[in-house]
Symmetry: C2
Subunit: 489 residues, 2 copies
């Protein structure tokens, strides 16, 4: 079965051919650790977690590098005061590396909650200053960069004049780019406004700084990914992923840096994950249409009627294809929760049902169903289609329980194996049912039954005693139209 | 109240005076991430976690730096093949940074299990290559180091000839050191066998390598801690901690590097945590007297009769002072578990008991008890003595429940507050009882009560019904001499 991947570089689905057989080198742009990770970022990282799990399941040995941006990430090239770390550290009276540590710990906790696997290498920008200085020097030596007031800039016009094409990934026209550029501070250091910083001289107020051949400064954001991907994956590697919003200028700059340094397209397949919206609108702190990942999980927010377990959020996210915009809403989350519960119920039934006699055969075409699942997985990692096939199996499993369908022993084993692989390993969902909750529920049902029985036989002393004793233990019984329910108070 | 700390440098308990009022800079040598963290290391890191929590509770703002050694940690100076990362990466066919990632993730997970707080900065050796190269250059410039075949060594004799004293921390005599040195490979590069590597030239086979003024190589282990502590805490800072086994040569070299670079004693207070033994013997993989932290927790080992929750392990470890050797055994762990449970029971009772009338006063001298607790805490962080005072309170709380003792409302509030602070915040213990287990337990007690009542009134139909219904739900009731118990089957 051939794996097809949509390549942003060509704008087409292509058959995936790794550089080294059975091996995949994959780089994904990681978080900037100066604040809590956004829910939209969680979606992006979850998409690549699913892709990483899928590649691994398909038999590839994946070296998965996801970086931590912990230094010198400028909001724009010209404005040193905008360095996000410096800004935040003044606010919280912490050293920049304390901010980095606080939000790196938070980032790891959040992703672990959503059952994302750690990457195989997680390099930091500050851990590769030397490599970034060396790359800058290489670009200077090759004439693709110039020094200006202790900073070094990439020369976009020079790059294009050598027959290379700045704009090839994002399909932007260099002339239009030049025409539409705003006037920003620090631009006077540059030959042209599109030129981007490889190394920035540090103002006296700047805390994060390193010695370099051009004086004290810090690396430009775009350069770190080139430095780290080259170091751990080589000058040319298989897959580069990131959020759609990074395509320009970040990834465009990576392509330019790679080609200028090594004369080769650095990445074979560029993958971009799409946006997350909430209630049909862009999520943004300034408009208030905004929620933190753990607020969705805790239920402590103004948008959702209840808390949702991270596994249900994960299920919801993977119900959309990574290249589609995904909108979350209360309605959609509640629907996902129902779907998730039905899926988990089916997984439980699957462990309890018996196979038919061998002779009777199966009423499911296992080969065909398996093929459909793998077709979805290998068609640009189509998780929603895969999930829809899993739900065909879910419906079948419920009928199996009611003996309206049947499976041969071999097919039952195969279905068990495949469902477990797809649900837990590939989609990374988790069974969230806690055993003791179930036992408590069963025990309380026994008590409610006894109480109903007592009431029927007009033994009100006993029925009241049951109610009062439970209340004393913090369990309230409530009689309603549909019978008696309980709540833990 | 004055804080007294035992200082390895002076060999005495000293009154702690921070360099900057109300602030503490503390550096602790972190793990070498080339294999799973040892239980002995967990004890060391837990000791400093307790010290960090204590300092914070005492009102200090602590910058707590604990590094990750992820590069160039040589088992001995002369033998490049002994570089642990290179060795392990050949074994597992991983890149060194994949090994680093794998064991860093494991390290964080294990420490989180034992409820250790993350440090405020967690720098890596590979993240400070530039700083280490600069320090090496500084030592060369000052004449404290020399280059030899692309490597740079610290010149111990030169250091001593300037009136400085290599050996002052570990109280070793330089002449004895010279007499007792083994002959090791690579020694011919050194002027004297005690000289230690600041920078090592990389052999062609060496994967982890960086460019430097002396050719491609990697930094010596001792230098990384000097580079990182200086960067984040300054040339002179308050506290440096680590395991006893690091005192020589590692910490001795740090003292020498700091004094040679900056002409000042780099650390005011050196703290060393003592060893962990098991069944009276040193833990060692080669003798088989060895257990991984999570094996103690899972019960999957040959030394302990059951599994122990990480909170119980933590309680056991803190029952010894950090400067004492601690021996773990099955007997000791079982005893700790009992003690822990009694402590948690007391914490529960404390939330349920009522205060005496104000007029009646208290039978506990709250002021005196509080003072004793703080005396223990500020006497070189004496956790076992603190715990013994907490157990005086535990005994008192049990008597309070039986109305054999009494507390005024103010004292009850104070006791609640202090017990919560000491148990959860300072000692970092966790209440491991799960709420739903408790609710299940309470509900089952109600049912057992009803059944006993039914049997007393000879309503055997009802009593049998309760037993059978529960059995159908997987809960078995067992009548014994001490009453009825249950088990989940």
């Amino acid at each position: 079965m051939e794996l097809k991947i949509y390549n942003s570089l060509s704008g087409e689905k292509e058959i995936f051919r790794p550089i080294h057989e059975n091996n995949v080198g994959m780089y994904v742009c990681g978080p900037t650790v100066y604040s809590n990770v956004h829910l939209g970022n969680v979606r992006t990282f979850m998409s690549f977690d699913f892709i990483y799990r899928s590649l691994t399941h398909l038999g590839y040995k994946v070296r998965y590098v996801r970086n931590i941006t912990d230094a010198g990430h400028l909001t724009d090239d010209g404005d040193v005061d905008n360095d996000r770390f410096v800004k935040q550290s003044r606010l919280e009276k912490l050293e920049p590396m304390e901010i980095v540590q606080k939000y790196t710990v938070d980032f790891h906790k959040v992703l672990e909650n959503f059952n994302l696997l750690p990457p195989t290498i997680e390099p930091t920008a500050t851990g590769h200053i030397l490599e970034q200085i060396e790359l800058t020097q290489k670009l200077l030596d090759k004439g693709f960069a110039y020094e200006s007031n202790g900073s070094v800039y990439f020369d976009v016009l020079e790059y294009n004049s050598r027959g290379l094409n700045y704009g090839e990934l994002s399909r932007r026209n260099i002339e239009e780019l030049f025409a539409n550029t705003r006037d920003l501070d620090g631009q006077n250091e540059k030959k042209n406004p599109q030129d981007f910083a490889l190394w920035k001289a540090a103002s006296p107020a700047h805390i994060m700084r390193w010695n370099s051949p051009w004086g004290e400064g810090f690396p430009g954001w775009h350069l770190e990914c080139t430095a780290m991907s080259t170091k751990y994956l080589g000058e040319k590697f298989d897959i580069h992923g990131g959020g759609m919003d990074l395509k320009f200028p970040h990834h465009e700059c990576e392509v330019a840096q790679g080609k200028a340094c090594n004369g080769t397209e650095p990445v074979n397949y560029w993958l971009h994950a799409n946006m997350l919206t909430m209630n049909g609108q862009r999520m943004s702190k300034s408009t208030g249409n905004y929620i933190l990942p753990m607020e969705l999980v805790s239920g402590n927010n103004d948008f959702f009627e209840k808390a949702f377990h991270p596994a249900i959020v994960r299920f919801n996210f993977l119900q959309a294809h990574y290249r589609s915009v995904l909108d979350i809403s209360n309605e959609a989350m509640v629907a996902s929760e129902k779907g998730f519960q039905r899926l988990m119920e089916a997984m439980k039934i699957l462990n309890q049902v018996s196979a038919a006699d061998n002779q009777q055969g199966s009423t499911l075409n296992m080969k065909e169903w398996k093929e459909k699942c793998y077709n979805a997985l290998t068609d640009d990692f189509n998780s929603p289609i895969l999930i829809s096939h899993l739900f065909e199996a879910v419906n079948f499993i419920f009928k199996l329980k009611d003996e309206k369908e049947k499976l041969s022993p071999e097919d039952l084993e195969e279905l068990k194996k495949l469902m477990n692989v797809f649900v837990y390993e590939v989609l990374g969902l988790q069974n969230i049912e806690e055993n003791n909750n179930e036992k408590l529920d069963q025990t309380l049902r026994v008590l409610i039954e006894l109480r109903n029985q007592a009431r029927k036989s007009k033994n009100f002393e006993l029925s009241d005693q049951i109610r009062d004793r439970l209340l004393a233990e913090g369990i309230e019984l409530k009689d309603g139209r549909d019978g008696t329910s309980y709540s833990l108070i």
